[in-house]
């Protein structure tokens, strides 16, 4: 007897969004299940960053965004964070004038004091390279360390789903592997991850499923184990794939 799969943690249906008059996303359907790593790939200008912003509430949306059973559409990022959805934005933007410790502290702004300190220590424990610099201002960190700090900011609240926007951008290969190893450990620990990445090979190596986005629509959805995935992705990127190329 078939057992119906549990409701996905994140369920996006018919999502459209954009900036002012410019419509960027057209009717996106996307799901992320518990403890799953989903990669979101696509050429530049496809709308990947816009999609993450729409989900976390930084942009107005039409359509439905359900997270953990709650409807997030139309709410602001504060509510998303409280519901357990963390969004690490593109460009390793941390607060450079504040210390590493303070950066993490702001991630748990509305928790009670005792709990705040505990969570910050926990996050620092995950990332020894920045733990060593806890009292230094973020401006003195290297680009890679700032990216690690940004990821730590996302994690300090123990989110159920962590959305990462191109965490490898501007990082050396060693640090890229470091960040992706963190993603792997997160999955093992039960956190789901939605990963937007430029480095396709690395993303496919750690993801369970992949979506390809082109010109504001999903053009491909597949499990990473499928055999002809690289070719299908290439076709999708270079715009010769049709939206019908969806297989699970």
């Amino acid at each position: 007897m078939p057992i119906s799969a549990p409701d996905p943690l994140l369920n996006v249906a018919g999502l459209s969004s954009g900036y002012g008059k410019i419509r960027v996303l057209h009717g996106i359907d996307l799901t992320v299940r518990e403890s799953e790593v989903v990669a979101l790939l696509g050429p530049n200008g496809a709308g990947k960053t816009t999609l993450l912003r729409a989900v976390s509430g930084l942009l107005p949306v039409t359509g439905s965004v359900r997270f953990g059973g709650r409807d997030l559409a139309g709410l602001n990022p504060r509510d998303a964070v409280k519901a357990g959805l963390a969004h690490v934005i593109e460009g390793h933007r941390v607060f450079r004038q504040l210390t590493v410790f303070d950066n993490l502290l702001l991630g748990v702004y509305d928790l009670p004091r005792g709990e705040r300190l505990a969570r910050v220590e926990e996050a620092l424990g995950l990332f020894p390279e920045i733990a060593a610099k806890r009292l230094e201002r973020a401006v003195s960190l290297s680009g890679g360390q700032q990216q690690i700090l940004a990821v730590a900011q996302g994690l300090v609240r123990r989110p159920r789903l962590l959305m990462l926007d191109e965490p490898s951008a501007g990082l050396s290969p060693v640090l890229v592997d470091r960040v992706l190893e963190v993603v792997r450990r997160l999955r093992e620990a039960g956190t789901a991850v939605l990963l937007v990445e430029q480095l396709i090979d690395k993303a496919l190596a750690i993801a369970d499923r992949v979506y390809a986005l082109a010109r504001g629509s999903i053009v491909l959805e597949a499990g990473t184990a499928e055999p002809d995935l690289p070719q299908r992705l290439e076709r999708a990127y270079l715009a010769t794939a049709k939206p019908a190329d969806i297989a699970m």
């Binding site: 002012g20 976390s56 930084l58 602001n76 990022p77 504060r78 998303a80 964070v81 409280k82 969004h87 934005i89 933007r93 941390v94 607060f95 450079r96 004038q97 504040l98 303070d102 502290l105 702001l106 991630g107 702004y109 509305d110 900011q153 609240r157």
Partner: protein
């Protein structure tokens, strides 16, 4: 004579510096400048004279109420003149909305309080001296505000959240910080600082509605010269401005002192539009 110039100059410089800090706190929270900063200074003096002088309240009570009045105007500025225009596409509407609000408050004061300068009560019952309370009260206020802001930013979570919003609003929002609440709190704080400037400086400037345009301009000079959002720069520039103004007053007389200040202000800005300590303008394309 020199001593008098220095004392007066530093005292009035502290008042200008505090108004500059008022501008800066509002700017850090919202990326806009508000015309109400100078009006807040005026209000601090008027409210102090009203509560303590006319209504006979004890000094401490009048002081707190004056600050509360300033905080209230700061809050109103955020809600009425800043928040609605932040969303709009026209980036310069805030200049007009804050100007309108400032004018309304000034005119209301002119009508209800009167257009002449009224005396401001003596706050501390100690004999007059050379280094009188009218001089060291503004300096004390300035020092308290500087130290207070430093403590706020370094040792409280709210203060650190203020710094985060000032540095990168977008990242702060994405992190889930309560942007609107923090902005309102910043504006209330700025309002209290402005009122403090007027209250502490009341014995020098008197309770006069015409202080508003004066403080609007002279309080902005420290911001322009010290760099937007830079409080330390504002203090240094404010003190220099006060000293320069008093020296010019003594050497060439009142009117031409104003012309001198204005000329220096314009020349510095034309040479370095970002101020002496500010950061250069970013890419626009």
């Amino acid at each position: 004579m020199v001593q008098s110039i220095v004392t007066t100059g530093l005292a009035i410089g502290c008042i200008y510096a505090l108004i500059g800090i008022t501008y800066n706190v509002m700017y850090s929270a919202s990326r806009v400048f508000s015309f109400t900063a100078g009006t807040l200074g005026m209000l601090g003096g008027v409210l102090g004279a009203l509560f303590i002088g006319r209504m006979g309240m004890p000094v401490a009570a009048g002081f707190l109420l004056a600050l509360a009045g300033g905080a209230l105007l700061g809050l109103v500025t955020e809600i009425v003149a800043v928040r609605p225009v932040l969303k709009s596409l026209d980036q310069h509407l805030y200049v007009l909305s804050t100007l309108a609000l400032a004018l309304m408050v000034q005119q209301f004061t002119a009508i209800e309080w009167g257009t002449e300068a009224r005396p401001f009560p003596r706050l501390l019952d100690i004999p007059r001296g050379d280094f009188d309370q009218q001089f060291w009260l503004p300096m004390l206020a300035c020092a308290v505000v500087i130290v207070g802001l430093e403590l706020l930013h370094r040792h409280t979570l709210v203060g650190r959240a203020f710094l985060a919003i000032a540095e990168d609003t977008y990242a702060a929002r994405a992190l889930g910080l309560p942007e609107r609440g923090l902005r309102m709190a910043s504006f209330a704080l700025a309002g209290a600082i402005g009122a403090l400037a007027g209250f502490a400086g009341g014995q020098m400037l008197l309770a006069f509605f015409g202080n508003a345009p004066l403080l609007t301009f002279y309080g902005f000079v420290p911001v322009a010269l010290g760099g937007m959002g830079n409080n330390r720069g504002a203090v240094v520039a404010g003190l220099l401005l006060g000293l320069f103004q008093q020296a010019a007053n003594f050497l060439v007389g009142g009117i031409f002192a104003s012309v001198a200040v204005f000329a220096v202000f314009i020349i510095v800005l034309l040479v370095r539009p970002e101020g002496l300590a500010g950061a250069a303008v970013q890419r626009r394309v």
